[in-house]
Symmetry: C3
């Protein structure tokens, strides 16, 4: 039987991939008590970074939002691994941290990060309302345009 | 009856505003067990960012410290909402994260962040002593000069 | 009797210094329940920053990895203070956050941060496998090349 969150994902047309394999001596998430701490996710699709460059430069705000959405889907992939596949065990999206690769004159970081935040609430409803910190950065691993990390609470 | 922390705020002449309303699909804080995770705060005063630009550029270190203090007051506003108005329920300022908008040649980030750290200890005393991470960033949402996020423990 | 982790540190030739004294109104770590939240550490050795400048500029990737290793040793110093000297009480390296001072065209942040991640696993084995977020920053306090923060779980 599909869960409530799985049904919502299907309705939204969101496919959650398998969690990306770790590339080094770190892992996708750790669970401490009821907290799940998930590693920063870049907009990887099938092993390739889908959106590279600087938002406000070669990357538009819309493309940045798209990148933030992919990052959130990749957070979901880790969360699915952390919950044994049952996303209904997620009690709360506690916090998202958003990192927007952009220049010193860019100031629309919040709008870019809304790509991830809007998806969190679309998928989890009230449980998806999260604390958030969004900042600009000069560059990200692999020239990713956006990186998003997450902290979640389980039932 | 005013609480201990409220009395200290009055003594210091600090007025804590109402918590800023969320501008998007995120919220000012989340509570997990006894932890309060508060969203990154920019130096908003009456809905306008009081200090914009880069510290070490158009913004002096003193102005940056002023911005950091406003960010901390805005963290207090969220914390007040999280505690039902009773800041005496705060057991510990666990961690502050400080983001200083500045250039590649700026190195005095710690001095800027002391604006927030000094106020944490002025307001909460020993309970205000926190772990801290301070970094430079090229720019922040809305061109804010400083952003500060916080994690707090409740009694 | 030396603990398991102390024996591993000796085998690896790693000397953990005394935890650096706080330079301002913040402290090296805070403990909340079984979580230890450790302040961002820069590559201080005997009170001086051992590696300054930008990785990918004057600082090579290898030197950046060296800086990340020193940051991790300084995290261990704080953790030793938090555990009363008994690092065997560490159940898990929950999360490392890595900040790499570098320019807009640098993209090898993950490789630099592996200096810290590899040491975490060398020292703690399976318990050292952590969630991780790595980003570029324009500059760090004191012109440090790398800063690493950590979250740990105690037994």
């Amino acid at each position: 039987m599909a869960g409530v969150v799985d049904a919502k994902l299907a309705e939204l047309g969101i496919t959650v991939p398998a969690a990306a394999a770790p590339l080094a001596n770190y892992i996708g998430y750790n669970v401490v008590g009821k907290l799940v701490v998930v590693s920063g996710q870049i907009p990887l699709v099938d092993g390739k970074i889908a959106v590279t460059g600087k938002v406000g430069g070669a990357v538009s705000i819309e493309q940045g939002q798209h990148a933030a959405r992919i990052c959130f889907v990749n957070l979901l992939a880790q969360l699915k691994a952390a919950t044994g596949g049952d996303l209904d065990r997620v009690k709360r999206v506690v916090r998202l941290g958003g990192f927007i690769a952009s220049g010193a004159d860019f100031t629309q970081h919040a709008m870019v990060m809304n790509g991830a935040s809007d998806m969190a609430v679309a998928v989890f409803g009230e449980k998806g309302k999260h604390a958030r910190t969004t900042i600009g950065v000069p560059a990200l691993p692999g020239d990713a345009a956006v990186e998003v990390e997450g902290m979640f609470e389980l039932e």
